[in-house]
Amino acid sequence: MTLEDLFPGRMGRVVLTRVAIRVRRPDVLKMAPTAHLDDKLAALLTDAKTQVQKG
């Protein structure tokens, strides 16, 4: 899985920005969209994405 898979498009970039703040990981904003995510990071970002999509 890549960042692009998890956060597609410009809307996805906004969600990724929220996720980065949520998990305090500025490094994810500097990763290449096509970079492969290891399982642990993919799980962290997927969980955080679910959280930030709540109100």
């Binding site: 498009g9 410009r10 809307m11 906004v14 920005t17 929220r18 980065a20 703040i21 949520r22 305090r24 500025p26 904003l29 959280q51 930030v52 999509q53 709540k54 109100g55």
Partner: protein
């Protein structure tokens, strides 16, 4: 509907003051996306910041009300009236005394209208009515002439989670909490803004027409207008919560990310509120008859912005690919300098989102065709190439004579 309010009216520098507190119009979309940003990082303690900022302005506006009288009950009645008039909903202080008690909020902008702004099916993981809680605490302290931090506010129920009327428990603290003192109008420029840029829009006529609209809260204390739920909110509340987020993010490596989301909240605001205004019957009646060119859509909306309390906006340069707006006394700058002194970076986040959002509506989304301004259309426009991005090139809070925002089309 008769409400007892503090002195309220237009002031210099594009302001409307309630007592000594500057007010700005903002919609439920801005309030939702701003608060969503503030609450992303659980460790920042932003719930308390929001509550305390509301306490700060609630206390300031009631203490500054020269016509509030000496009776605590009369003061609390005024607090209820302020809450309803400004679009926050209805709040009931009848079950509190100087020891505290339960405040009911039968209708809450933050409880009800945030759910309307959120994408369909959004589940709220926490209450949204921190403003209501803080306002209630500040108003009770002002009513009984106590220290602004005399009361602790605990949210018992929020409409956004329960659907039931909101409920706030106020209790007297053993020792008052430190609450910042509202800075009123903050620091303004001595410069006089130039007249509006040449266009076919008669800005004074637009402002006069808008001044004639009743934009006070209805029986439910809400302001449904232009397709959104408006609030006539406290500028110092927005400034405190936005800048405190920015300050607390310092050193995290995520400052730019937070700035981007603050700008994005302004962009959402522009899409819904500017879009709502430009597709409204009022626009058709007042502004549209003056429009003779695409540029006039921008000039017309800028004229409307100058009725929102956001400062004095002037179009400096406009092409189909670029808009430069200069702003005298943008409320973010005046508030920042009033609260923190000189800024070392641009802090006009809302203005950036507003300027880019305006260009996207006119030159990217073609608002003249009256599109449905829903989430699907937002996503469609946001994802399309050729949209506008903003940058801040001058900032009054940094010592510049005015704030300048440039929005350019991304090729």
């Amino acid at each position: 509907m008769s409400r007892q309010l503090p002195p309220m009216g237009p002031s210099d520098h594009g302001r409307v003051l309630l007592a000594k507190e500057p007010l700005v119009f903002h919609c439920n979309y801005y309030n939702y996306y701003l608060q969503k940003t503030l609450l992303l990082d659980d460790e920042l303690g932003m719930e308390d910041v929001i509550t305390d900022a509301a306490c700060e302005v609630g206390y300031a506006v009631l203490r500054g009300a020269t016509n509030a009288g000496a009776d605590p009950q009369a003061r609390l009645q005024m607090a209820q009236d302020i809450f309803a008039q400004l679009g926050f909903g209805t709040i009931d202080f009848s079950a509190v005394d100087d020891n505290g008690g339960t405040v009911k909020v039968p209708v809450s902008h933050y409880g009800r209208c945030m759910t309307m702004a959120a994408p369909d099916g959004t589940e709220f993981e926490r209450p949204q009515n921190y403003f209501d809680a803080g306002f209630a605490a500040g108003a009770l302290a002002a009513a009984y002439e106590k220290d602004p931090g005399a009361y602790a506010a605990s949210i018992q129920v929020c409409q956004s989670k329960a659907g039931a009327p909101g409920e706030i428990q106020l209790s007297l603290r053993d020792a008052p909490k430190d609450i910042a003192t509202a800075c009123g109008q903050g620091h303004h420029t001595d410069d006089v803004p130039p007249p509006p840029a040449a266009s076919n829009i008669d800005e004074p006529a637009v402002l006069e027409a808008l001044a004639g609209l009743d934009l006070g809260g209805n029986e439910e204390g809400l302001i449904p207008r232009f397709g959104v739920m408006l609030t006539f909110h406290f500028a110092n509340f927005y400034n405190r919560i936005s800048f405190e987020l920015h300050r607390r993010m310092g050193g995290s490596g995520l400052e730019e990310a937070a700035e981007m989301l603050l700008v994005n909240a302004g962009y959402k605001c522009a899409f819904h509120t500017f879009g709502g205004i430009m597709t409204s019957g009022e626009w058709d009646a007042v502004v549209k008859p003056q429009i003779q060119s695409k540029e006039d859509w921008v000039h017309g909306m800028v004229a409307c912005v100058n009725a929102l309390g956001w400062g004095v906006w002037r179009v400096h340069e406009l092409t189909e690919d670029k808009l430069v707006v200069r702003i005298w006394d943008d409320y973010e700058s005046t508030g920042y300098t009033g609260m923190y002194g000189k800024a070392n970076t641009g802090i006009s986040f809302l203005a950036q989102g507003g300027v880019a959002g305006l260009m996207n509506l006119v030159y990217h989304a073609d608002v003249s065709q009256k599109p449905t301004l829903d989430e699907a259309f937002y996503e469609e426009i946001f994802e399309q190439a050729g949209g506008f991005e903003p940058r801040q090139t001058k900032c009054q809070a940094m010592g510049d004579a005015y704030t300048e925002i440039v929005a350019e089309r991304v090729k």
